[in-house]
Symmetry: C2
Subunit: 336 residues, 2 copies
């Protein structure tokens, strides 16, 4: 199944204690696509300026990413300048230059209209909704966000969350969004707004997934060489959604839940839209979360999405197995 | 197998956003014992003052903890006054009154001399060594410490670590001890000093275990009601060491490693002591770490070790199963 992503493409200038990059390829849609493309076909919606290097455009194409939805607008490409200390969990934004993003009016190419899997990467929630409105009956919608939108467009953001099946959000942002310090309580609150799955991202500590009846904890991969955490969350989402889209085309169970979602037992939301994730078996989501963690672990091994771009299938499989080794323990058979 | 612990018994005055306690039962040896006693026989070495409530002494006895090694000294019991903010990961010490701990001269009762399993809880590393010197050929030694000793007695602490099979330490303290921000590198450094197993404690994010050839990540249990994190690390150690001591008496593999440790393939350390953990199968350690995490999760559900004291075997088993559900995912069988 093809996977639609709308998000940012940026030129990032980043400094970490382990090195730096000047105007390197970045942006949420970039990291997402470069992770997801190993697993499924990716349709990209984003905007760049006239200064955006031709070589990057060619690279998206070479890597099989459909860029029909990539607009080139008058003006300069979106830029982000950031810095990290030894605690790589917290980025300090030095400067954000929206440039062409300021007037971005995302339009869905007709051939993207029937996308089954949709990821609304971290951009203005008004734009996230604008895209979602153009998709004809999406099968599975996931969204991400950041503190800026929680502060500045809380109502619009809430409307996006209500329409999403899966929400990914940072730990501190989950607390900020719900005004609830306890993560379990914060999660219940967000789930009560509509989504079936909430994924709390905790940087080097991994992720926690909450649904209405279960919790899943996935670690981050402990790395000895870690250069730049930028894009880890988007790479995670790319691995997760890419995985789900991939098995959506091959796995009967998942096909079932997706059709169930449309035709059976539907939930009527405020928009009149009918949606229901409809599957009780979490197997796929859990594996997708590990695949997301695999992609995030590769992402942080280098500046820019470099490490993701040329990943070999064997590297992906091997690291997935490493996650299994990292977390496995036997059932309790004796004592107490 | 019986398990020896030396550590503190304290009267704790603690405030968290969720409540407070005044001069409640606390201390590293207390939390450790109350967790471990569900799994094995515990022999306690500690000191209290003349003001220590009789009811607590009776309780230790009622719960089957051997207190032959508990001294009552002239003066007042050790007191700790601390506070936590919403971020329960960081305790702020308001006051520490060492009292009888200042002149503590730990003496091993003769019947503790042949202890197979030894836990040196967080106290002055000079005292940790003093106890260890009195144990005749210990089978498995674990130790804990804190930032205060890293700053004030680094050499003595290093000598303890060198003699330990398992070291437990907080994440920030591992970095402080090694002057290495990357945890994987910090762990390698500590392992190079002698221990076979290093367990990095990360509060609400769980623990990471490092050995020379593997890594294991265990989450903390996501709790909706969490009152006081005091003692979580000691409860963790109690669950881990209690579990290992328990299967040490029943499990042949573990018996083997323990004997191997003494008689085969020994490593000669600086002290001339011969020690070698000698087992390649990590199964037991991993399960022990989950048992430790189970105990820590109960510990934080209430002020003082209250919740640990009267735990039912079924509660322990059920929570262990919850950890399995929390972390389980299937192998990758398809795609890439």
């Amino acid at each position: 199944m093809s996977l639609l992503v709308v998000g940012s493409i940026a030129l990032d200038t980043i400094k970490t204690p382990f090195g730096q990059v000047k105007e390197g390829l970045g942006g949420s849609a970039t990291y997402f696509s470069m992770a997801a493309r190993h697993l499924t076909d990716v349709n990209l919606v984003a905007v760049v300026g006239q200064d955006f290097p031709e070589e990057y455009i060619n690279m998206f194409q070479d890597k099989g990413i459909d860029i029909t939805g990539l607009q080139t607008a008058k003006g300069k490409t979106f830029r982000w300048i950031g810095e990290y200390g030894f605690d790589l969990n917290d980025a300090q934004t030095i400067d954000t230059q929206l440039n062409v993003f300021r007037d971005f009016n995302p339009k869905l190419p007709p051939k993207y209209m029937y996308s089954e899997f949709v990821f609304l990467a971290n951009i203005d929630p008004d734009l996230q909704r604008q895209i979602l409105d153009q998709v004809e009956s999406p099968g599975l919608v996931a969204c991400d966000t950041m503190n800026y939108w929680i502060e500045n467009k809380p109502d619009s953001l809430r409307a996006v969350i209500r329409r999403a099946d899966i929400v990914t959000i940072n730990e501190s942002e989950a607390r900020q969004l719900t005004k609830e310090p306890n993560l379990v309580k914060a999660s219940k609150k967000i789930l009560s707004w509509g989504p079936r799955i909430l994924i709390i991202k905790r940087g080097e500590y991994g992720v926690l997934m909450f649904s209405n009846d279960s919790v899943f904890s996935a670690p981050a991969y402990p790395l000895e060489e870690l250069y730049d955490p930028t894009g880890a969350g988007d790479s995670f989402a790319g691995g997760l959604m890419g995985f789900l889209a991939n098995i959506g085309k091959s796995d009967e169970t998942l096909m079932n839940f997706r059709f169930a979602k449309r035709y059976e037992n539907t939930l009527i939301r405020h928009s009149g839209e009918s949606r229901n994730l409809g599957f009780t078996d979490e197997t796929a989501i859990r594996k997708g979360i590990i695949m997301g963690s695999v992609m995030a672990s590769f992402c942080v091994e280098a500046f820019t999405p470099k490490r993701l771009i040329d990943l070999k299938p064997k590297e992906i499989k091997d690291r997935f197995s490493e996650f299994k080794k990292l977390t496995f323990f036997e059932d309790l058979t004796e004592i107490v």
